[in-house]
Symmetry: C2
């Protein structure tokens, strides 16, 4: 089912493609991360977004430790076939800092300022996560 898509993607030399996650209804851009062919196949088959973690060098099932899962609504490929746009339903917050979006810093009057406050205490988030995970 995912092969027709994956076979068209121009992955980089590390076998990865950048993926933008956008909340499907509000259209808020939540984050950008990387996907491998394997993570894309899993995402499409399960309906839950799975990235590739470059730091951990492995599959990163979004929300597996935090509970902040992303459900896939649609997956789109760009004209050059080297970027993906994921329309998702974000459960809770996307950012590990407890903010809805990872793009919470902006240039204002020549300086970088935070324009969005955390909705959730990151510590509570990850404590709750571990708890949720232990039951999952």
């Amino acid at each position: 089912m995912s092969l027709p898509l994956i076979s068209r993607i121009r992955f980089n030399s590390q076998g990865l493609v950048p993926a933008i996650a956008q909340q499907f209804d509000t259209k808020e851009v939540l984050m950008m991360a990387w996907m491998s062919a394997e993570s894309i196949a899993e995402t499409i088959s399960t309906g839950r977004v799975c990235y590739y973690s470059r730091s951990r060098k492995g599959l990163w099932r979004k929300g597996e430790s935090s509970g902040q899962v992303q459900y896939l609504v649609d997956i789109r490929l760009d004209c050059d076939a080297d970027a993906l746009l994921l329309l998702v339903e974000q459960s809770g917050v996307a950012c590990h800092t407890g903010r809805r979006s990872c793009f919470y810093r902006a240039l204002r009057y020549g300086d970088v300022v935070e324009i969005e406050a955390p909705e959730v205490d990151p510590e509570a988030l990850y404590t709750r996560k571990s708890h949720a995970h232990s039951h999952g």
Copy 2:
């Protein structure tokens, strides 16, 4: 003015950072491209988006040949400081195929299909561009 932002960015080994362009009011994701420190500085100082073209290995002033300029409304940095979100006012279409967004292909019933038609004939676009350019 742009130094406080640029100094915080974690550029990749090629000195580039991925940038997502989003129409500021409709929130449509238009495209993803790459920026260098120089292209970011120019974008902020001129208010017109300038990317770095990896194929041409140089500055790519969006719309310089097509007339489809992007005006910068806001520039945001993500939590890991390795991705940018540009809120822009897109003049005309963003995609070289004549479509508003580059993300016009989606997975439907197991196949990749085009879900958005061109608004402009790409040939006309680039003929007009060259014309516009010759007057610019």
